[in-house]
């Protein structure tokens, strides 16, 4: 089988080969994300019981937690791509890092926003400067700094090198976010999902994990779509892109 050879996987790191593959994969991830969103939201809002203390307001958790998880996860993946691009000088990995940054920033912003909307009815405040909230706000600044730095430098190679370094420095923030509720006194609750188990009802778990996968697949679909534009932009002088444009972009 061709799929089991190393050469098959290595050729996917070529923008020219990856461009049509990404185009074929993206719709499937988008469809999977849409289906999971519907299932997850249905279970979260209609099947899961109200919480014994927070009643129905806890349901924002089904959106808030997947967004926040993915915001952190996307940062790690983005930095992984950026590091590979920095070390092995592979063009496609730096493009993938650039493609993930805006989605990561959006997830972080929505995580903060849904958190604020949840905080007001439960804690009594939209925002407090505790360790979890502050470190998560720093994550948003890191994403924005990453994008700003990359766009501030004209030479794509230098731009991706500089932003990769910034991203990698910022990766120390991820364990700080994750463990902040364990290490320090925070207003934010501790971990509901940890190695010691998941402290919620089965239907709540199903809703939360389904929506986490939905956000994950959404991110993949968007990143694949965005990386196609980035490939075309950065490889615009390559013969195959010129041919593609002449053929009407197909």
């Amino acid at each position: 089988m061709q799929i089991f050879t190393k050469a098959f996987w290595l050729q996917l790191s070529s923008p020219k080969v990856f461009y049509p593959v990404a185009g074929k994969l993206a719709p499937w991830f988008a469809i999977a994300a849409a289906i999971l969103f519907v299932i997850g939201l249905y279970v979260g809002f209609f099947v899961a019981p109200p919480d014994y203390q927070q009643k129905d307001s806890y349901r924002i958790m089904f959106i808030h937690v997947p967004l926040a998880w993915m915001a952190m996860f996307v940062y790690i993946v983005m930095c992984g791509y950026a590091a590979i691009g920095l070390i092995w000088k592979t063009r496609l990995s730096t493009m993938m890092a650039s493609a993930l940054a805006p989605t990561g920033a959006m997830l972080t912003f929505l995580g903060l926003w849904t958190g604020a909307l949840w905080g007001k009815p439960t804690w009594g405040a939209y925002w407090v400067w505790d360790a979890r909230l502050t470190s998560f706000l720093i994550l948003l600044f890191l994403y924005m700094g990453y994008m700003a730095l990359e766009n501030a430098i004209d030479d794509p190679q230098r731009a991706s090198r500089a932003s990769a370094l910034l991203g990698l420095v910022g990766i120390v923030n991820i364990p700080i976010i994750y463990f902040s509720v364990k290490w320090w006194n925070t207003l934010h609750q501790g971990m509901s999902v940890s190695t010691s188990g998941i402290s919620m009802e089965p239907s709540m778990k199903i809703a939360m994990f389904t929506l986490a996968f939905a956000v994950w697949f959404y991110t993949i679909a968007i990143a694949l779509t965005r990386v196609r534009s980035i490939i075309l932009e950065r490889e615009r002088h390559a013969a195959w892109v010129v041919d593609l444009a002449k053929a009407g972009g197909r």
Binding site: P49, P121, T122, W123, G124, V172, N185, L187, Q189
Partner: protein, 158 residues
């Protein structure tokens, strides 16, 4: 050595160094990273009692007293080891109740911790009301003193 190995070592070494720097910095700033102090912390003199600070713990069962004026509430914040009486004038969050974790911002005045803001803290347990009731009943039957509500203040555990 190939240049990509050099870069790999540069990135790997850089990240390791960064992790150490971050760990040391967080260690140094540890006392500034806490959002609130537990009554035990206050008793040990860890809290900056001269100025306004945040006090966190559980609202002691049976301690909530509404005053004559209708908006002042007195209650006791405890971490099961030490307790501090709190006085607050204003609207309490919905989750405020006896046995619930709260964080009050304020300072000491005549033996009372006078709060100008009270926030409710909830724990990481989510369950249906029926389950919570069943747990409570089972607990009452067993006669155990263990509480369903875990203490929300990690200051006591440390």
């Amino acid at each position: 050595m190939k240049s990509r190995h050099k870069r790999l070592m540069f990135v790997g070494g850089g990240l390791a160094g960064l992790a150490i720097v971050a760990a040391l910095l967080l260690q140094a700033f540890n006392s500034n990273m806490v959002f609130f102090f537990s009554p035990s912390d206050v008793a040990q003199g860890k809290a900056p009692t001269a100025k306004s600070f945040r006090l966190g713990g559980l609202v002691e069962d049976g301690s909530v007293q509404r005053q004559e004026d209708g908006i002042t509430v007195n209650f006791v914040v405890t971490d099961k080891a030490k307790s501090i009486p709190v006085s607050y004038k204003g609207i309490l969050p919905d989750l405020f109740r006896e046995g619930q974790g709260v964080i009050a911002q304020g300072k000491f005045e005549q033996g009372y911790f006078v709060a100008d803001e009270v926030l409710a803290k909830h724990d990481e347990e989510y369950m249906a009301p029926e389950v919570a009731d069943a747990l409570k009943k089972a607990e009452a039957n067993a006669g155990s003193m263990a509480t369903v509500q875990t203490v929300g203040t990690k200051g006591t555990a440390q």
